[in-house]
Symmetry: D2
Subunit: 337 residues, 4 copies
Amino acid sequence: MGHRIAVAGASGYAGGELLRLLAAHPDLDVVAVSAHANAGQRVGDVHPHLRSLADRVFVETTPEALADVDLLFLALPHGASAGLAAQLPPGVKVVDLGSDHRLTDPAAYARYYDGDFAPAWTYGLPELPGQRAAIAAAERVANTGCHAAASILAIAPLLAAGVASPDDVVVTSTSGTSGAGRSPAVRLLGSEVMGDLTAYKVGAHRHAPEIKQATGVRTLTFVPVLAPMPRGILATVALRPVSATGAADVRAVLADAYAGEPFVRVLPEGRQPRTSATTGSNSVQLQAAVDEDSGRILVTSALDNLGKGAAGQAVQLANLMLHLDETAGLPVDGIAP
Amino acid sequence: MGHRIAVAGASGYAGGELLRLLAAHPDLDVVAVSAHANAGQRVGDVHPHLRSLADRVFVETTPEALADVDLLFLALPHGASAGLAAQLPPGVKVVDLGSDHRLTDPAAYARYYDGDFAPAWTYGLPELPGQRAAIAAAERVANTGCHAAASILAIAPLLAAGVASPDDVVVTSTSGTSGAGRSPAVRLLGSEVMGDLTAYKVGAHRHAPEIKQATGVRTLTFVPVLAPMPRGILATVALRPVSATGAADVRAVLADAYAGEPFVRVLPEGRQPRTSATTGSNSVQLQAAVDEDSGRILVTSALDNLGKGAAGQAVQLANLMLHLDETAGLPVDGIAP
Amino acid sequence: MGHRIAVAGASGYAGGELLRLLAAHPDLDVVAVSAHANAGQRVGDVHPHLRSLADRVFVETTPEALADVDLLFLALPHGASAGLAAQLPPGVKVVDLGSDHRLTDPAAYARYYDGDFAPAWTYGLPELPGQRAAIAAAERVANTGCHAAASILAIAPLLAAGVASPDDVVVTSTSGTSGAGRSPAVRLLGSEVMGDLTAYKVGAHRHAPEIKQATGVRTLTFVPVLAPMPRGILATVALRPVSATGAADVRAVLADAYAGEPFVRVLPEGRQPRTSATTGSNSVQLQAAVDEDSGRILVTSALDNLGKGAAGQAVQLANLMLHLDETAGLPVDGIAP
Amino acid sequence: MGHRIAVAGASGYAGGELLRLLAAHPDLDVVAVSAHANAGQRVGDVHPHLRSLADRVFVETTPEALADVDLLFLALPHGASAGLAAQLPPGVKVVDLGSDHRLTDPAAYARYYDGDFAPAWTYGLPELPGQRAAIAAAERVANTGCHAAASILAIAPLLAAGVASPDDVVVTSTSGTSGAGRSPAVRLLGSEVMGDLTAYKVGAHRHAPEIKQATGVRTLTFVPVLAPMPRGILATVALRPVSATGAADVRAVLADAYAGEPFVRVLPEGRQPRTSATTGSNSVQLQAAVDEDSGRILVTSALDNLGKGAAGQAVQLANLMLHLDETAGLPVDGIAP
């Protein structure tokens, strides 16, 4: 008998990926799945790929339906997590895949989000120094954003090591379409996105304060781009070196920071991260270079926005919170081609 | 300690998928992987998604390098399997993902293939009546072709039940690009295939005799089409009913044939198979209809050409041949979106 | 000064392609464009690729706004054309890209469509025998459906020549996503369609009666499939030969039928139609084969569903109706890669 | 009778697009097309989309075969242009789509290219101040690189106006696969690129010196990324403002610089460039923003790498050099969806 698990908001893409991972998890049992518009439907009608859970039925997202569990995943729209979490009985651990509980600074929150500020929960990125233990001890953990995860993992060790400056970090982060969600919209139709690249929310993206908070970056330029593929994020991160440095030194700092990490890999020299190599997995690929012309440090970072960027990360957090093997149920090998 | 496994020809797409599945298999240990042009390289350089085997090194494809195993998978170019298999010591079980040992009729072989006819091995489709036991007892098993698997699973029960005629079966089978292999060719470049649909080998496709042999179809029209996606096959199969019939009756025949099968699912009424629902899994989705105008039975069949169409199937065969749980290490849930 | 042209329903994909072609047409001037939900918006906001018309404003779709023209294109949802057409003054020629006026048989109409039967207009496929003159003399012309155009051009000459039987024609017709329209729907999201092939409306597709009516096919099995690309249709058509025949003979019948046709090309032996070769053009590519096993004639047919399947066809019709050069403003070269 | 034109190296993607544009050009007649490996083949066999030139035959790339023209386009591999150009008789104008004659600085050339330095020709970007007249007067013009064109058009006016600093410009430029050419390579197979984003030549890209030379940028960080689509480039350019500035001011500088330009458009506020909007056209879309957090100026720039990034640009240059209407034969409307 595994731990009892529920997923609120399981009809979207992150929720679907979570169900896929949970169905294969050796120590977790899905006992309830909820949805809003899809309540009453079977999982197989909404997620035709989830054969092993096809006959489960989505219930309404209520505290009663979801509370009798050891751990609840929230994959709800922005603003919906705090209210639900407040109604849960003590002892129910919660991982929130949404953005309600990520930011510690009310001012930063007010700048990017509508609605009332909700206090931050433990930040759910185990690879940050000290964070693994904090997560293991927490009852409530806020999952990282997908763009944020790709950037933070690229940036944090370089600032911590004093190799790169916290000022003037410039990121272009290109994502597949599942990151934009499953709500129907003309701009997300297949006809619109295939063959298209376009930037969005240029100048003011919600992931910027999260990246700054988690890394200590002081000034950040962040441009998100939408690419014609279902999954994956590739972040290209340009940092200023504190002193003249070479690619090998930067790579060594990253390699050192992630030595022993099961999901983050600094690639051998000469190989660049590929999003396709991480599809369906909880893996992150990193590579470092130094621009010949500018001397800037360039880190490229690839992950699956639904894997380490959302549902994979969430399962990793749950494993820690439930004191299981941190890697249980989490593939490191991607699906390619 | 699991069974000792080797993979010959592991640098292609089917070989790579096999390695991915084997790496996660609870009872099988990969002890040797071979390649031809890539011999001496590390797995991670050739298959950047296979993190868990990244540091393994491809050896040359020789009997010596591959023989000290319980089971050897052959994922070699056409014509290369028979020679290698002949040099293996007794006791080494073999699953051949190639086409050398599928056909029982030398004349059919000569019509579609160059080179000498090699005797057929046990045909590796466990869902065919009687075949599961034959496979479990065999030392040498020939994996199905990917197009063939999609069609045979759609056709066989209807002919066996006397519902559809063996004459004049018409199939269009549309496949992703990985089915065309990993050898560089202009026609397979991303620039060429994205935005493109094209039929190939129209009038004379090698999978036709395999489908006929496995199902009893007497005359078959088979058109393969290449679609702009990496994986997946959708076969649309039009059969003549023996007598006037309805979709529900046809669906019942299929449902009955595959009741209890772990990997083949007849979808509920109103839902069509989607290749994306099978990506990365060993699952097959089937649906039946009857054309209002012609009365023809229409069966649609979706699978992952690298899953149930190649490597997933091969692992299922190995599980049977090694008397393991038939489903061990084989996902039924696809990766979507 | 060119002929005065209006487009009703210009905010969808067919309407947008029509505007693109009209903007480059030497003899036609767009004087009004209408839309429903997008009325009041600028063309550039709805069709960001149409720079040359970017500042035009969509008006409401009313007879008053659209009547002061020589020719009106209707690109409206099903059922909306008849009412608008009835309110137009005499002398306004009309090409209807919708399906309201294609079918001559009220019973066939009632089987596939809701709403009242509207009498058929002249059928807008100039390559059918006698149809070019009929179109040139008509005031009202019904554009072909996109799937129908691909199939009819493949089938009609073979039946007319007595080479193929009108009984038991089997078609799989695979289309890009723009054929499914621009209304937001989950199943058409980029995340859903990329990597996916799925059949739809299996057993009862609206294009079947149109194909039968235009070709004389008596029994037709027609399966439409949705492919992960924005544009293009590839039809694979299997016909029964009247007597044993070879590919060269079939090709000769097609080549003879389309000799001198500017937009339909029978490819040289050894080359298969590719949808990518027709993108953005009014071209159709055809090839013929005979299946070795079954003896069935196989015709493959590729076109751009928004080109010869919709807007290109419509401009060709308008050219005829306005007694212009039939090829004016219509590219024969596709955009590739 | 139009001007006599030849294209050397017409079997690649840039060459094919050039042929497509030339075939529709009102004032230019293609009299010779050459290729290397494809010499002796027909255009239709190599470029199945070019119906209007399908029966032309590729000749060998020799001065004799190409010299009897008014203007010769060179679309040859790196290093091949200089030798051929030297053997042409006086009076033959030349546009080189390759990189041999772009750089003025031998040291920059030596750093990024093998082989001997060849003197720079007139730089072929008409939208740069003074360059239109220089091109019109030149006999030899070097076409821009595709990544370079997207970046230069975004950067040049801001430096010229003193709004942005020439120091520390950071660019991520993401391109479709046709930019990587048509030579078969495993990494460019459809199976590899679909679903994948990856950066390449990180730290040292050949387009960097070209961008610096054309804009006056002093330090440039340039990261190219390959995206899963056949065509299109989206550059995200981050510049340091000289003093605090707003998006409207930056947009005004760009709008002013390109007022009257037929092919470069600064989008209205609220709309971002989309590569799909430029497909098949010679258009460029630009938008400006200022990052809330860093204050950096962000310019996004979209074009078709085969259009304004290669063949469209080349035709625009030829129009100027032959004193034709600069826009002749060049679409401004893209093909979408």
